[in-house]
């Protein structure tokens, strides 16, 4: 490899034949986050079957979501979809009394061109409950992008920001920065942790999109600054900028202590606030120290991301900083503008750690990737459930990628959880290493 090659990130795009979750899976975490919501997935048995299997035991806890299962009559337009949806929404409103009903459009509603956006306002008026439409379908999006479509739709419903009255001007001055709204759905404790992290720098978070109740959506408008906490929120960012005239702070994402620090620093910089550097230095340093036992396990090891949830760039950047070598970062979709700061931090980190730049593969091809994995023999493959067991049986250590979506990974406090996940298979290997049966697939075909 010539030196120039290692200086820049390399981007590639493959066939898009890869395994990931359908974006409707976002209802799993969003209905839990937004506690007064109800999610109605308008789709077929296929969607329902995916949800019931992917969500596992959650299903049995009377979840606040349901399928509006399309039958043959709906497809062939023998039934009037407006009346059908009205009937179901009336029923939901009566049984559950949610503050908002979110319609999740699917592949089928796209193909039969069901005018969900047109019908929603009418039915909304009839039942007196807001209805939000998000087209989280597998034709256009992958896995976590489902949340992006929901939040982008929700951004339209946030109340308009009212500039404070002159009389109250002195109150605002204490904060000495414009309103800041953070976007991205995080468990309440994690959201609180990040809010406090910023508060200790003198930055007040005026709201989150989403809040834990629909009725508490934050005010948005010109003059409000917004910042994302997850890398897959590019549509939401665009909507906030273009439609709500907010100003976007493009920062790396607060994943890992390095990411969290860069995120805080970027926000401070935009607001012209001098970060309490000593404070921040100390905080980052003590986190890295506490991670030392984990880092000693992964230092110098290689990792391969097959790609399925768009967290890949941030996780790879953190793992490089931990001393790992990243061969390949597969990613479903790469928004180079929204992820610009994250990408440059990745580049910077690689240089700092003196490792070669990873290859970033958009829309990967799982078959080709498995061939590359066989050739490279990485120490760890981060991949979906479809490939985990087959790779393990061939002696290749894997970590199941979906866990990163459901675990708490943001902020200083949770960096440990990321490494807990990453090192788990390696620690397992240490326990079992002397048994001599790491390859468990018969060679004869």
């Amino acid at each position: 490899m010539s030196p120039t090659e290692t200086l820049k990130l390399k981007f590639e795009c493959e066939t898009g034949n890869y395994h990931t979750f359908c974006p409707i899976s976002c209802v799993a975490w969003l209905y839990q986050k937004i506690s007064d919501s109800f999610f109605l997935v308008i789709g077929t048995k296929t969607c329902g079957y995916f949800l019931q299997n992917a969500l596992g035991v959650m299903i049995f806890a009377e979840p606040r979501y349901a399928m509006a299962e399309l039958e043959e009559g709906d497809i062939s337009a023998q039934l009037h979809d407006f009346d059908e949806l009205k009937r179901l929404c009336f029923q939901i409103h009566q049984d559950r009394n949610p503050s908002v009903i979110v319609w999740i459009g699917t592949c089928t509603t796209e193909i039969i061109k069901m005018d969900l956006e047109g019908m929603a306002p009418k039915i909304e008026q009839m039942i007196g409950c807001p209805i939000i439409v998000a087209r989280a379908n597998g034709l256009d999006y992958a896995f976590t992008q489902g949340e992006d479509t929901v939040l982008a739709a929700m951004a339209h419903r946030c109340p308009e920001w009212q500039a404070p009255h002159e009389a109250f001007g002195h109150q605002r001055e204490q904060e000495n920065h414009p309103n800041l709204v953070l976007f991205g759905s995080l468990p309440n404790t994690v959201a609180e942790q990040l809010t406090r992290e910023l508060a200790s720098q003198g930055i007040h978070v005026s709201g989150w999109l989403p809040e834990s109740r629909y009725e508490e959506l934050p005010q948005l408008g010109p003059g409000v600054f917004v910042c994302g906490v997850n890398p897959f929120l590019s549509r939401t960012a665009t909507t906030l900028m273009r439609r709500r005239k907010c100003q976007l702070i493009g920062a790396p994402f607060p994943i890992g202590p390095d990411g969290t620090r860069a995120w805080i620093e970027k926000i401070c910089q935009v607001f012209n606030i001098q970060p309490h550097l000593e404070n921040l230095d100390q905080r980052e340093k003590s986190i890295w120290e506490s991670l030392e036992p984990y880092i000693s396990l992964i230092k110098g090891r290689s990792v391969f991301f097959m790609g399925d949830n768009l967290l890949e760039i941030s996780l790879a950047r953190f793992l490089v900083r931990c001393g790992m070598i990243v061969y390949e970062i597969g990613i479903p979709y790469m928004d180079k503008r929204f992820q610009a700061s994250e990408l440059s931090l990745l580049e910077k980190t690689c240089k700092q750690m003196n490792v070669s730049m990873p290859l970033i593969v958009e829309k990967p091809d799982n078959y080709n990737q498995v061939q590359r994995i066989r050739a490279l023999q990485p120490d760890l493959v981060i991949t979906g459930l479809a490939h985990s067991n087959p790779l393990e049986a061939r002696g290749i250590t894997t970590k199941w990628s979906v866990e990163f979506t459901f675990a708490q990974i943001h902020g200083f406090t949770n960096a440990r959880d990321i490494l807990e996940l990453v090192t788990r298979p390696l620690r397992r290997n240490n326990h079992l290493k002397d048994l001599g049966w790491s390859e468990l697939v018969s060679q004869t075909k």
């Binding site: 898009g16 395994h19 048995k45 296929t46 019931q52 992958a142 067991n389 697939v441």
Partner: protein
């Protein structure tokens, strides 16, 4: 449109993929959007499959929507042909491709020119059939394709032999059942010609007609193929389910008659029933007396629900209040099978109806799917899982057949462990147990305001914990029926008497 959040049977393409990936060296290609390849996850996780699931998606995205698949499906077929060199590629339509109405058959004809593998388009309609029906049809389709393409004269095997049709990936205890049937047939001196489709190569299917008989252990998948082989190749089939002592015996008799067996199979049956299987002895042992007349509810696929109902009633003396299945397409058969054995028959695929039925009957134990297990948890009623849909814990590593003589042992254990243990039951009744915490209402329906007098609450707490909820509900049911608003100790006793009457 139907409001639902849980279903018993999966969509059609799952059935097709289960057939395709059960065969050896067959590749399934789904014409589907991103994320629909969830089947691979299920197979890899539930079955803990070591090999890559031979299923890929030919992705339908925005471009395909605008311009049609054009070269894409053909390219994907040729590519898989080169990469994996499968014997057969099954192109699987999904709900999405059903409405796109692309001419998939045309893609296949075009791909055929440049591939070595055989290619079939699964003949299933997403909106008309479910997982089981689709699997049944796909199996018949593949079998008829390979059997019909072999015009040679049929030569039967020298010794009596049988095919087993319907052992699948992701099937409920299928691997164990298959081993058990194999053992039984070996005892009867019958050779296994082919097990289809699990682990079978499609190139071997031409040998299918050499067997003397076909055995279809489960009603849901395999019957269509068996009927086809009977019609076209005069092969008799046996669709009795060898689950439980009585049915296993009748299954053995049918097989021996069909193959003109010279062995003394009655003696074999008698020996197996009385001494090899422990189930016959178990149901006579005094321990099992406590189960007599206990109330149970059974729900599952047609095969398992019918067989378990018969076992509970006929072989263990348990009272099945309600037997049900979600296999609505096979409802008539099911009703005919269980009618004489239970108080009522429930045929529905709506899990809330099943849940309400359980809440209403309050059986001492449930035998159902994972959904019924969770209903049982909420109502404090034990549940034994006897049928799909199932979770990973229903793919045990140890040998756990439901069929044959070892199956009867497994079922007896399952049934016995599901009911509160007899002695424990007895002791709790005498001493009232140690559990005197306040009553927690666990109910599927909303409670109306009935007032419990404090003396009645005290009385209620004397009742052993595990029956307390039932007594509470029965008393309330009684109070409501008498339009009483206040529940006193007297009302409680009146309710008990009314119930006993």
């Amino acid at each position: 449109m139907k409001l639902a959040y849980w279903m018993y049977a999966g969509p059609a393409h799952i059935g097709t993929l289960r057939v395709a990936s059960s065969f050896k060296n067959v590749h399934g290609i789904m014409h589907a959007p991103l994320g629909d390849d969830y089947f691979n996850v299920m197979r890899s996780m539930l079955e803990r499959e070591r090999d890559f699931t031979p299923v890929t998606a030919s992705i339908v995205d925005r471009y395909v929507l605008a311009r049609g698949s054009q070269e894409k499906v053909v390219e994907n077929i040729t590519r898989k042909d080169q990469e994996e060199k499968p014997d057969l590629i099954v192109l699987t339509p999904t709900c999405t491709s059903s409405i796109l109405q692309e001419d998939l058959q045309n893609f296949i004809s075009r791909a055929q020119a440049s591939t070595d593998s055989d290619i079939l388009l699964a003949d299933v309609n997403h909106y008309r059939v479910n997982e089981f029906q689709a699997a049944d049809r796909t199996l018949e389709q593949i079998i008829s394709f390979y059997v019909s393409s072999n015009p040679n004269k049929i030569v039967k095997t020298e010794k009596p032999s049988a095919n087993i049709l319907g052992i699948f990936t992701l099937g409920f205890h299928h691997q164990h059942d298959c081993r058990e049937i194999y053992r039984l047939l070996k005892d009867l001196g019958i050779e296994i010609n082919l097990v289809v489709p699990e682990g079978c190569a499609v190139t071997d299917l031409k040998k299918l007609t050499k067997a003397w008989i076909n055995i279809v252990p489960y009603r849901e998948i395999g019957l269509m193929a068996a009927k086809f082989l009977e019609k076209e190749y005069q092969m008799p089939y046996i669709s009795t389910i060898p689950m439980g002592l009585v049915e296993t015996a009748s299954w053995i008799r049918q097989i021996c008659k069909q193959t003109n067996s010279q062995m003394d199979y009655e003696k074999y049956i008698d020996h197996q029933t009385r001494f090899v299987s422990q189930a016959a002895w178990f149901s006579r042992s005094i321990d099992c007396q406590n189960l007599t007349g206990k109330k149970a509810l059974v729900f599952g696929d047609a095969t398992h629900a019918a067989a378990i109902t018969k076992i509970l009633v006929r072989e263990m003396g348990i009272n099945v209040c309600c037997a049900g299945t979600y296999c609505q397409h096979d409802g008539d058969w099911f009703r005919e099978q269980v009618q004489a054995f239970c108080d009522q028959v429930l045929i529905t695929d709506d899990h809330t109806r099943v849940g309400n039925m359980i809440a209403e009957i309050e059986p001492a134990a449930i035998f159902g799917t994972q959904m019924e297990r969770h209903v049982g948890k909420r109502l404090d009623i034990p549940c034994g899982v006897i049928s799909a849909p199932i979770h990973i814990q229903n793919f045990p590593l140890s040998y756990r057949p439901f069929l044959g003589y070892e199956g009867t042992n497994q079922i007896a254990d399952l049934v016995y462990n599901s009911f509160t243990l007899g002695m424990e039951d007895h002791l709790l009744e005498i001493f009232g147990g140690h559990d005197v915490k306040t009553v927690i209402t666990k109910n599927l329906s909303t409670d109306q305001n009935l007032i419990w007098e404090s003396s009645a609450i005290e009385e209620l707490q004397k009742i052993p914990g595990f029956v307390r909820n039932r007594i509470k509900r029965n008393t309330e049911k009684f109070a409501r029926s008498k339009k009483l608003e206040k529940i006193t100790v007297e009302v409680m006793y009146a309710a008990k008497e009314a119930l006993a009457a």
